[in-house]
Symmetry: C2
DNA sequence: ATTTAAATTGCATTCGAATGCAAAACTGCT
DNA sequence: AGCAGTTTTGCATTCGAATGCAATTTAAAT
């Protein structure tokens, strides 16, 4: 019966004289042996809140320091059933337009004692494999800022892995979400446009299946209609600068009176649109054409653009997402929650009185 | 002697009728039991290259599918001493200016069967704790695109964890590096400036302790001197848009003839500088003032800027970094390597003949 | 000093998959 | 059919830390 998990070399009479194999990292057993205590004691020293005496802690810590011992998070995860890993799913877009978000999320996770396992998702198939990968790594939770299908979400649900959605959700399914609802600010801004004399506006939309885009487009459409601004046209973009420029070019080819204002569903497209208007068509923004965007990304505020836009509080949203996932990792039974943030109008200089 | 690792409930006579505890994930033992084979067989089915017969594989896979079994990467890591985790250390800056880099690195790691464990590092103390965290998680390697001190690097070296530096290295210490050396392109560009009649230039530098900044500044300084362009001034920035604007403002306060060209050590500052010159000082860029940058970030090419700059091949550099770390994870004894990439001049429209 | 209660320590087992070794099952050959 | 040679399978152990339980030590109370 091998009661001692570390069997002694029979020719050795004293374990203490066996040196550590060079290059192998120290384990709790090594520390225990050096300190002359049991492995359990070492384990307890590294687990806050354990019953351990002062002098024991001191002895163990001294030995641990000498051997540069750090507990093996992998082994710990195996026995505790807690990996302290959170899968962070990002699409190329999120990272391109909100690099701060990923940074913030990672930072916050870290201070909650969690580690970010990063996954890039750009297609639906990606999402599929990514979820299996995350599952293999026993992630304690998922923050999803990328595409995820209903089926994929259901898999995670069934496996009881908490998921927090970042700027997207399933309306007909309970889930935990951080979201920015710009409805109020859109109203304000549209009203402002009306008062500035705008009566015809165009919309440059984002990707068709992107929820943020669809929602914003819906809100804008409603608001314009309600206020009494005619929608001259609504063209499709993909959130990129180029698609903003292309979108505006496309608008020019349409029949009827030209719109005096363009509402772009994100800032990047608004910048493309503005550059196209200014440099290709020679228009004066905002005198000839007013442009508004969505997001409040940093470069929208550069002097070349001074974009009027509706900001999402990305920093606070990131914090909230982490807080929510951390809560649910601790208590997986916690109920779903939807934290909706308000937007904020950034005035900027890209809108003005409509030309007569 | 407990020879069977999963002890049976004494009241049960047949293991097969014990259902899975609800919510618990299936293990290789569960699959083995359902398929009526040994756990080893299951393990071998999921390890490519193992000796397993066709019908065995089929049986096991059927059971695995039924139970939605996926091997536990944590447990596997414990026994194989391979976590398949790579720590990716990024500073706020990298992520802000090269969001694609992180994305690319993660993607590439993924297709090499490795997972990115993301760490944000913004101070030297951060680096310290991050390295310990990474060590706890048994990462197989580190890609460092952030600050790391010599001591910290030595710790990783001693622990035999392969490290790949991204755009920084220790000149006096062997290490594995991907780097972009823009010396040649700087020469070309400076010469071009000379031919355009520029004889006095200013430099807006990046952070003092940042290696990329220091190197670029050195190269630019040498090149200007060699070519016969006088360096009017050299002011300190921090890579941000604002610091580029502030830097140019500061240049205006200096005595002596104004420079006809400003070389900014990165694009973001170049954009700040350009906006400051145009919108605050009312200068015409490039007619009154030529501006060049470094990096080749996407927005530098927007019509509002059309920045002349030297591009780093970030995509290829990211690929190389991953390739190098993957190689070294497989064979840790592999020698150090330094992959230096060339830059590329992006012509742009921010330089022109010097005013007379 | 003695008893009792409380705090600390150690023992043995556990988490889930991988693997060296030996046993068993096939294969081909005479 | 019989035997050697090969392939497949299972057994038992291992990785490193955590933890329920029992044993031991310490502190407190009488």
């Amino acid at each position: 019966m091998a009661s001692n998990p570390r069997k002694k070399n029979p020719s050795e009479t004293d374990d203490n004289i066996i040196p550590l194999i060079k290059g192998r990292r120290a384990t709790s057993y090594d520390v225990a042996r050096l300190a002359g205590v049991s492995q359990s004691a070492v384990s307890r020293c590294f687990k806050p809140g354990s019953s351990i005496s002062g002098k024991m802690r001191e002895r163990v810590m001294k030995a641990a320091k000498k051997l540069e011992y750090q507990p093996n998070a992998i082994a710990r995860g195996l026995i505790t059933q807690r990996s302290n890993l959170v899968a962070v799913l990002v699409s190329g877009r999120l990272n391109l337009y909100y690099p701060e978000a990923l940074f913030k999320i990672t930072e916050q996770l870290s201070s909650a004692g969690l580690r970010a396992l990063l996954f890039t998702v750009d297609s639906e198939e990606d999402a599929e494999t990514v979820i299996e990968q995350a599952w293999q790594f026993q992630v304690d939770g998922v923050i999803s800022a990328s595409h995820m299908s209903r089926e994929q979400y259901k898999i995670l649900e069934k496996r009881q892995i908490p998921v927090v959605f970042f700027n997207r959700y399933f309306a007909d399914h309970p889930n935990t979400v951080v979201y920015c609802d710009p409805a109020e600010q859109v109203s304000d801004l549209v009203e402002q446009l009306y008062e500035l004399g705008h009566r015809r506006a165009a919309i440059i939309k984002g990707p068709e299946k992107n929820m943020v885009s669809v929602e914003r487009t819906r809100i804008v459409t409603e608001s314009l209609t309600r206020t009494g601004i005619e929608i001259a046209a609504s063209v499709q973009g993909d959130f990129s600068y180029e698609s903003g420029a292309a979108g505006f070019q496309h608008l020019q080819t349409l029949d009827g009176d030209a719109p005096t204002a363009v509402i772009c569903i994100n800032d990047m497209m608004a910048m493309g649109c503005m550059d196209e208007a200014r440099f290709v068509l020679g228009l004066n923004v905002p005198a000839d054409l007013s442009i508004v965007g969505f997001d409040g990304i940093g470069m929208g505020q550069f002097s070349s653009y001074e974009l009027t836009t509706i900001r999402q509080p990305i920093g606070r949203m990131s914090e909230a997402a982490v807080k929510m996932i951390a809560d649910r990792v601790d208590r997986p039974d916690q109920s779903h929650e939807k934290r909706v943030f308000e937007g904020a109008v950034i005035p900027g200089g890209s809108i003005a009185r409509a030309p007569t």
